[in-house]
């Protein structure tokens, strides 16, 4: 058995409590990251359908002729940012209104004529559902002939856009924080292991060992700590996922549809390995030869 391999096994076994604590700490940090990542992933799936539900309501002037309406519909359909256009006449609008306020039909009593305007519902392509883009489209439509008013849920568009952007920012921020934490844990553990073996290392140096010979086992130890932490995190994430889906899902139905992307498993192992190596490289690099 090579010295490096045996030294790694001995190092892990001899300092098992420090190593177990490190693995748990790395595992906990990565668990936190993984659960956040899964929630954000599921949030993205959910919000990716929201733009399809979003629409602009273009109210038409009462005196607009049928010819004018047809021309307007044609014009809107030809826009590259529009995916669907639907015209609602004054009577359609009234029927829709009656349907909406079923329980309060008395509101319409005493009205001699239909006070509602005809309108066109415009659905936008997914990529154009952002606060700025929707505002620009609304401004352009307002300039067309026969338009009374363009209504759109500014706040809905803004909220969708904000949530998407902020969830991306949160992911990046958490990834950086957790990476720093994992690197620090790996760094501290390897440094402790290094100091615990100081006497042995001193002897090896006097016998002619190079820095590479001395440091290699520690870098492997850091990598193993990282990988074990990653595996622990994946295992616990699986448990949390099952609890959310099958236990909490029976109470809060939204959790029933939660998805665990399988790609997260190899990705976590690779990331935890890299972070473990980086931490141990910093640790052994900072210890003078």
């Amino acid at each position: 058995m090579s010295y490096t391999f045996r030294s790694i096994i001995q190092g892990i076994y001899r300092e098992k409590w420090i190593n177990i604590l490190s693995v748990l700490a790395i595992g906990s940090s990565l668990l936190f990251l993984l659960i956040t990542a899964i929630l954000i992933y599921n949030f993205h799936i959910a919000t990716s359908r929201l733009p399809e539900l979003f629409s602009l309501v273009v109210y038409l002037k009462d005196n607009l002729s049928q010819e004018g309406i047809d021309s307007l519909v044609k014009n809107l359909k030809s826009r590259e940012d529009v995916i669907g256009v639907k015209y609602f006449s004054k009577s359609d609008a009234l029927a829709e209104f009656k349907n909406t306020v079923k329980g309060a039909a008395t509101v319409l009593e005493g009205l001699d004529e239909n006070p509602l305007s005809s309108y066109i519902e415009v659905k936008l392509k997914k990529d154009y559902v952002s606060a700025k883009s929707v505002e620009n489209i609304a401004t352009e439509i307002r300039k067309l002939e026969g338009i009374d008013e363009v209504y759109y849920g500014e706040r809905i568009a803004e909220t969708i856009y904000f949530l998407k952007k902020s969830s991306n920012a949160v992911s990046v921020f958490l990834f950086i924080i957790v990476s720093v934490v994992v690197i620090f844990i790996s760094y501290s553990t390897v440094k402790i292991l290094f100091y615990r073996k100081k006497e042995e290392i001193e002897i090896l140096r006097l016998l002619g060992a190079t820095n590479t010979f001395i440091r290699t086992p520690f870098i492997f130890e850091g990598a193993i700590l990282g990988i074990l932490g990653g595996v622990a995190a994946i295992f616990n994430t699986g448990i949390v996922y099952l609890l959310l889906k099958y236990k909490l899902g029976t109470i809060i139905s939204i959790f029933e549809k939660i998805v665990l992307p399988w790609q997260i498993i190899p990705l976590t192992v690779v990331i935890s390995f890299v972070l473990g190596v980086v931490g141990s490289l910093i640790a052994v690099g900072r210890i003078k030869g």
């Binding site: 010295y3 042995e200 002897i203 090896l204 140096r205 006097l206 016998l207 060992a209 190079t210 030869g289």
Partner: protein, 218 residues
């Protein structure tokens, strides 16, 4: 093999070696003697660069020790076998592994046979699987010798190789070191035990309070 030219060494403000100059030729066995604290161990440490000289020049084999880059120090040390006064054995390694590590560091092959041969020379083959803590002082000293000779270095430095040993063991160890020298290895022994070199025909370098005061071949 070893050349000291006007070497000075300070520990803080204390001058422990003062303008030391000597030359030891290849294949020689030389005693460095002097009272405790005279600078013998420091002198050996300067050879394998556990300490750096403050002034002067040291040459060991092909290495100009004084200007040696940090990355070259391991390669200098691989040319030297050191018998440390305090043994410096790795406690969680067996006797076999303690000797083998010297060869592993040098990336040598056929480690098992070489280690067993070295242990046979110091009469410790039967203790190959033991850990240092269960060995006597004499046995530990012999493990250190086996570790020093196993890689067949050009130079062996022995720092008080018989300290804390009973006379019989000390004699056996000195006999072993002499045999190693007779095979062509340069040996430098630092000791304050006059008994070791009382009747020797070898060269003796005496150091007192950091001064080289005597060079003699009896």
């Amino acid at each position: 093999m070893v050349i000291f030219k006007n070497v000075v060494k300070y520990y803080e403000n204390l001058k422990v070696l003062r303008d030391i100059s000597f030359q030891i030729n290849r294949g020689e066995l030389v005693y460095i003697t002097g009272p405790t604290g005279s600078g013998k161990t420091t002198l050996l440490k300067l050879i394998y660069l556990a300490e750096k000289p403050d002034q002067g020049e040291i040459i060991v084999g092909d290495f100009k020790v004084t200007n040696l880059k940090a990355s070259q120090i391991p390669y200098l040390r691989r040319k030297i076998g050191v018998i440390f006064q305090d043994f410096k054995l790795i406690q969680n390694m067996t006797v076999f592994d303690n000797v083998a590590i010297s060869l592993i560091i040098r990336k040598e092959k056929d480690i098992k046979n070489q280690v067993l041969e070295a242990l046979k020379k110091v009469h410790l083959r039967h203790k190959a699987d033991c850990y240092p803590k269960i060995l006597s002082g004499g046995e530990q000293q012999r493990v250190v010798i086996a570790r020093a000779i196993v890689s067949k270095p050009e130079l062996i430095l022995a720092d008080e190789p018989t300290a804390n040993l009973d006379p019989n063991t000390a004699t056996a160890i000195m006999q072993l070191i002499n045999e190693i020298n007779l095979q062509g290895t340069t040996v430098i022994i630092a000791t304050h035990y006059r008994e070791l070199f009382r009747n020797t025909w070898r060269r003796i370098i005496r150091i007192d309070e950091g001064n080289l005061i005597e060079k003699a071949a009896q």
